[in-house]
Each structure stands twice: as C-alpha cells, then as structure tokens.
Amino acid sequence: MTDAGAAQIGGVRFLGSRRVYWRLLLRGALLLLLTLGVYRFWLATDVRRYLWANSEIAGETLEYTGTPLELLLGFLVAIAILVPVYAGFFLAALDLGPIGQMSGLIAFLALGVLGQYAIYRARRYRLTRTIYRGLRFHQDGSAWAYALRASLWWLATFFTLGLAYPFQVASLERYKMRHTYYGDLAGRFDGSGLRLLLRGLPMWIAIVTPLAVTVGAFIEVVDWQALADAAAAGGDDVMSKIEGSNPAIGGVVVFALLMAGAAVTLAAVLYPAFEALMLRWWSSGLRFGDIEIRSTLRTAQVYGAYMRFLGYSILFCIVAAILAGVALLVVGLLTGGDTTSLGGEIAATATLLGGYVVIALGFSTVYRATVKLSLWQLGMEALQLSGLPALDQVRASGRASSALGEGLADALNVGGY
C-alpha cells in the first residue's frame, strides 16, 4: 500500500495526467458538436470530477459528487423561470411609451442582477458537491443580497474606470467566504483591496494612459460646436459635413486607432501577469478557522502556461488550415456547377459552418487543456497551508443544494468551471 502524499502533509499536489485531460476534452468537444451543445452538462461534470479528484490537500484528494442530470434539471428549471421573464421584456419592448423605450436598458440591468444571483447560487451548488475527508463544504447567506452588492460594485467599478475593482473583488470575496463552511469550520477572507490596488496600479496606468491621451487629443482638436451642428442638421451626408466642419478630425481618428491598438496590445501582453496577481492575492486571503493559506505562485509560471497555449495553437492552426482546405474543396465541388441545387447549398453551408465550429471548439479545447488546466495546477501547487491540526476535529454540517443556480448561470452565460 502506498499512502499517497503522506510525506507531503501540509502541502498541496496535483496528481492528474495531462493526457487523460486532453482525451476528456477532445471527446467532449466532438460530442458537443454532435449534440449541438446538449453534452455540455456531461462535459462540465467530467472536468470537475477530474480536477477535484486530482487535487490533493494535506494528503487527501477532493471529491466532486455532482451529476450531469442535476445540471440538466437545473437548466430546465432555469428555462422555465426565464421564459416568462423574456416574454415580459419582449412585450414591454412593443410598448410605445417610455417603458418601451427603456425596456432594453431595464432588461440589461435586470438580467445583470439575475446573473450575479446565479453566480452565487452556482457557487453554492459546487461547494455542496465538494467532499473532503468525508465532509461537505457548504455556503449560506442570501443570493439576492449578494446580487445587489455585486451589481452596485459593478456600477462603481464602471464609473471609476476600474479603479474600484480591487475593492469590489475584496468585498465580494469577503461576503462569499464569510458564508462558506467546510463542515462546521467557518471560512473568511483576509485579502486587502488596497493592497491589490497598489499591486495592480502600474498595469492600470499602462493601459489607461494611451486611452486618456486619445480622449485629450479629441477634446483639444475637435470643434465640438461645429460637430454638434453637423450632427443636428442630419441628412444623407452627415459624415462629409462633419469632415467639412473639422478638417483635423481625420488625423485625430488615426491617432485614436493607433492608441487603442497600443492599449489592446498592452492589455493582452499584461493579462497573464494580471491573472497571476489575482490568483496569488485571492489564494493568500483564504482562511478556514485556524487554517491559513498562502500562495507562492510566480508570474513567470503563468506566462509559461500561455506560451504552451501559443505553441499548441500554432500546431492547431496548421491542422485547421488543412481541414479548411478540404472543406473549401468540398464546397467548391458542391457549388461549382451552374445549376446549384437546394440540397447542394445546404450541404455547402453546413460544411462551412461545421468548419467554423470545429475551429472555434478546437481553440477553446486547446485553451482549456493548456491555460485553464495549468492555472488550476499551478494555483494549487503554489499553496502553503498552516494550522492544519484544525483539520482533525471538523464536524459534518450542511446539506446538498439544488443546481438551479448552475442552470441560470448556463442560460445567462455567466458560468465558471
């Protein structure tokens, strides 16, 4: 007998083999394609079972007990709830009065709040399906209170151009962890929003500066009065009128495009560093009773994960190019003649569409198998736990919750793992 991890008590290990994960994802992608997405409940469950089961904390692995049928049922219930909501917005949009005018905005805000509600409920589902040493994690607290909190924070973050974001994450994480339990061991979150802000500020400045310069240039150069007059006059040739009133506007637009390009490039280059910062900061704030967690994740490791993604992507591009060549050949054969039949057209469309979906699914699979898995593995292996003796006398508490939150999150497209 080999008592796995006995030598490493106190540490966290990831035991999974990448090959098994690749196989799981590739099979999943193929079945997603065949079932037009219905298979996603089974794939999500498989992925979680794999990730949980291979994460070993203090010598014991986690266990995921959720089932695909629970997710499917949660999704169907969510649809039943959302249909009247969507129907209501649809009817409101037909109204000619102020309600109809505002219905788009109201729908956006209402669905945003509902999305936050779903995120909290989905977290509850995942926690109560997580078993460790024969005990369940669970989460109490009100999902509506969380949704309200999260929505207000999102507004604050929006209006401060992201500067409130560190405080948002810290506040929401405090709420979540305060209501999180392992058995009867209460969790809490000790991360500081201010510290996160100070760490992230250089990145924020690097991305916002080019955008700010652009806005400044617009204010400086453009004759706003003339622009407003041109827009108000309307007619068929608004663009030429705008140009006539503002001869310098062409140069400014080019400058703005260059600066926006610079900001986007910088954001893409800095994103792995941002991800590493967030993951390290978040992990280091997690507490369960006397158990404290610290993360030693290095930024270079996360860049390494992205380099792997790039490498596999190039490989996949080559395969995709060959596939695309074959697909185009098939389409050419089907539509080459003068009299194209309806059947030929449908086949050609299906081929092109299938090619697109294969490529999109392929990139997403490569991303999940490289970046997502590496982040999980690196994030886990960088953890250092202290206060572990507390683990020996935790008592069972909490019950399994419904998967409605997962279903809502799925229907509203705000899912996680």
């Binding site: 007998m1 080999t2 796995a4 035991l15 083999s17 098994v20 079945l31 065949l34 079932t35 037009l36 997405g37 219905v38 298979y39 996603r40 089974w42 794999y50 949980w52 089961a53 291979n54 692995t61 266990e63 007990t65 695909p68 649809i79 959302l82 249909v83 969507y86 649809f90 949009a93 000619l96 109809g100 078993i131 460790y132 040493r133 024969g134 005990l135 369940r136 058995g183 309307g234 007619g235 068929d236 194209t340 057209e345 469309t349 569409l353 697109y356 979906v357 294969v358 490529i359 999109a360 699914l361 997403s364 683990l391 020996d392 006398q393 935790v394 008592r395 069972a396 229907a411 497209n413």
Partner: protein, 381 residues
C-alpha cells in the same frame, strides 16, 4: 493480508481477502487507518486493533470520483458521507468482482454515456423538425387568435422606427401626396386602394403612404399600414401593376404575416438560443439556422401573398397579370446569392404562379389615363 489480534469483535478469517484502507466516518474529518475484510456478504471495515467501524453490503457500494490509483467507495443513497479509500490494486479488483455497482473497467459508464449521446442527437433532430414544421404551423394557428389590436400595436412600433430611419432631416417631407401639386395623385392612389379594400374584407382600415425614396419596393406593416416607394410608381407602366403590388401587400395584412414573423422569430430564438448551442462556436450555428429557417418562412409568406393578391385583383375586376409584369421588372432575370437565404421565391416561379391565377376576362382598368398621369406625379414636390 494480516491476521487480527484475538478478543475483538471481528472474527478473523485468513481465507477472506483483506487489506489496509483509509476510512472517514462522514461525521468528523478525522482520518482512520483501517483494515478492510471482504466477508462473503459484506465488506467489513475495522480499526487495526479490530474494532468494527462499518459493515457495507456489496450491493450498496458506490464508486466515487478519485485519482486513478485510488478506489474510493461510499454507500449508495446514504446522506452520511462515509468514505473508504483503497490504494491496494488487488484488493480493489477483489471488491470490483463482488460489488455489482462498482465497475473499474468503465464499461457501464460507457454504455450509459452512449445512451446519453443517442438521446441528445435524437432531441437535436426533433428540435430541428419542430423548427422547420412546428413553428410556422404554430404561428399560423396563434396569429388569428390574437386581437387585431396586437397587429396595430406592432405596426405602430415598426412605423416609428421606420420613420426615424427614413427621416430626411430638413430636406423635405418623406410622404408624397400632401403638397397641392400632388393631391390629384393621392386621390388616384386612394381610388385603387378603395376598390381593392372593398373586396378584401379586412378586419381593420388600410392606411397607405407613398414614400419619397427611389427604390422600387413596397412594404406592409402589421395592422394595415402599407408603404409604397416612389421608385415603384416610376417603374410601373399602368395602374394595374401598381394595383397588383398593393394587392400583394394587402395579402400580407390579411394573412397577418408581420405578427406571424414576430411569433416565428420568438419561437426560433427560444428553441435555438435557449435550449441549444451554449458552447464555443454554437452562436454561429444558431444564427445560421435562424437565418435559413426565417428565409424559408418568408418565402412561403411571399408565395401565399402573391396568390392572395392575384385573386384579389381578379375579384376587383382588374388585370392580375399586372403583378407578374411588375415583379419581372423589379426582380430581374436571375438573382445572385444562395437560394436558401432568399426571402422571396424565385421571380420566374412567382410570375408563373401569378399568371396561373390571373383570369382577365372583361377587366376594368383601375384608373383612366388622366388619373394614371396624376398618380405618376404623386411625388412631384
């Protein structure tokens, strides 16, 4: 294989397979080093010194998610999360052969998955059938049940958007027929509309507008608003052609095609947007499927509006061939692009269908020469 010390509750039997394991009782997180013995009818768990911890029947055993090297067992349907972890592959194999619900080969899981895939594919196929046949049939049944006020409301909403799109700023009114020089043209238009409307038996009153736009087109909104663009009147060679197009548009109003289209779009969004396709790349599938299906619905609606229009002109005593000649003028000989994306049937087929219905025995022209000349000048400005 170990033998147990004497004087304990568990009777040792060296013939039974046994081995070490880790046991969690589901009440606390304490980790128990345990000894597992495979008795004939149950799996026994004891402390190394022989105190019984658990006794699980083989048919209760359930295999749970664990790393590849570990067999993790629980009890089926048990609210208490007792867990037994076995690291010894021989012992794990011995349990596998005894417990009906433990299957380390993954065969039963594969079989289960196979049936899931079969059902999912069947469900997808049935959704596509519902989209192709069910939704247009449903929309056709539901639309007549809705009060006409719904059509009018929809029409007003579209009308507002259309007018803001057509708005020419300060370049003049978008509607023709209001200025003094245009009044005679407007009267001629009203004469055609009234003659058709008298035969149409519509639930509401028609409202027709001539729009100062060069495109040769006409649009019917739900609730009875019909827009005719001046380009159409410019291209027409006689009043029967204009009347034919108007009759076609009246067909859309009578069939309540606007309301049907809204119902169809809603149904498709629900079917594809919500039930299917929430995966990477699925958005494109949904958009393509919706476009193709909506084009097919639209082709059907156009064909039946043609049939209605030709029959209406017949009833009003006009020459229904006018619609066909007008269509071949604006439709052209061949249309580029893919047939499955066309929202009208092919012009040749439409012309043939209309000419099949047209029955011009003793027709009365819709306008006399003077009135026709006035209609041509309806957008005099």
């Amino acid at each position: 294989m170990r033998s147990m010390s004497a004087g304990t509750k568990m009777v040792p039997d060296t013939n039974m397979p046994s081995g070490a394991a880790v046991f969690f009782d589901g009440k606390t997180s304490a980790r128990h080093q345990a000894l597992v013995v495979l008795a004939p009818e149950a799996l026994l768990v004891a402390t190394p010194d022989g105190r019984m911890l658990a006794e699980w029947r083989y048919d209760e055993l359930q295999e749970l998610a664990a790393p590849a090297a570990v067999l993790r067992l629980g009890r089926r349907g048990n609210a208490v999360l007792e867990r037994l972890e076995i690291f010894d592959t021989e012992l794990a194999a011995a349990i596998d052969t005894r417990a009906p619900h433990v299957d380390r080969t993954g065969l039963s899981q594969r079989r289960h998955r196979g049936s899931v895939i079969g059902w999912s594919v069947a469900a997808t196929a049935s959704l596509l059938l519902v989209a192709w046949f069910g939704i247009p049939a449903l929309a056709a049944r539901i639309a007549p049940l809705l009060p006409v006020a719904v059509d009018r409301k929809l029409g007003d909403a579209v009308d507002m958007q259309m007018r803001s799109l057509l708005d020419r700023g300060n370049a003049g009114a978008i509607e023709c027929g209001a200025a003094e020089a245009e009044k005679a043209g407007r009267a001629a238009m009203d004469k055609i509309v009234q003659r058709l409307e008298a035969q149409a038996a519509l639930p509401g009153k028609l409202r027709t507008f001539v729009i100062r736009k060069p495109e040769a087109n006409a649009i019917a909104l739900p609730g009875g608003q019909i827009y005719v663009f001046r380009g159409l009147i410019d291209k027409a060679d006689n009043a029967d052609e204009v009347a034919g197009v108007l009759a076609h548009e009246i067909g859309h109003v009578a069939h309540r095609d606007g309301t049907k289209a809204v119902l169809q779009a809603g149904g498709l969004s629900f079917l594809f947007g919500m039930l299917l396709g929430d995966f990477v790349g699925g958005g494109a599938v949904v958009i393509a499927a919706k476009t193709v299906l909506q084009s097919s619905y639209s082709r059907e609606a156009e064909a039946s509006a043609d049939a209605y229009g030709a029959a209406l002109v017949n009833k009003a005593g006009g020459n229904a061939h006018g619609l066909a000649t007008m269509l071949s003028k604006i439709g052209g000989a061949t249309e580029p692009g893919m047939k499955i994306l066309l929202d009208h049937p092919e012009t040749r087929a439409r012309v043939a269908a209309i000419n099949g219905i047209a029955a011009p025995k003793s027709t009365t022209p819709f306008l006399d020469a003077k009135e026709w000349a006035a209609l041509k000048r309806i957008c005099a400005e």
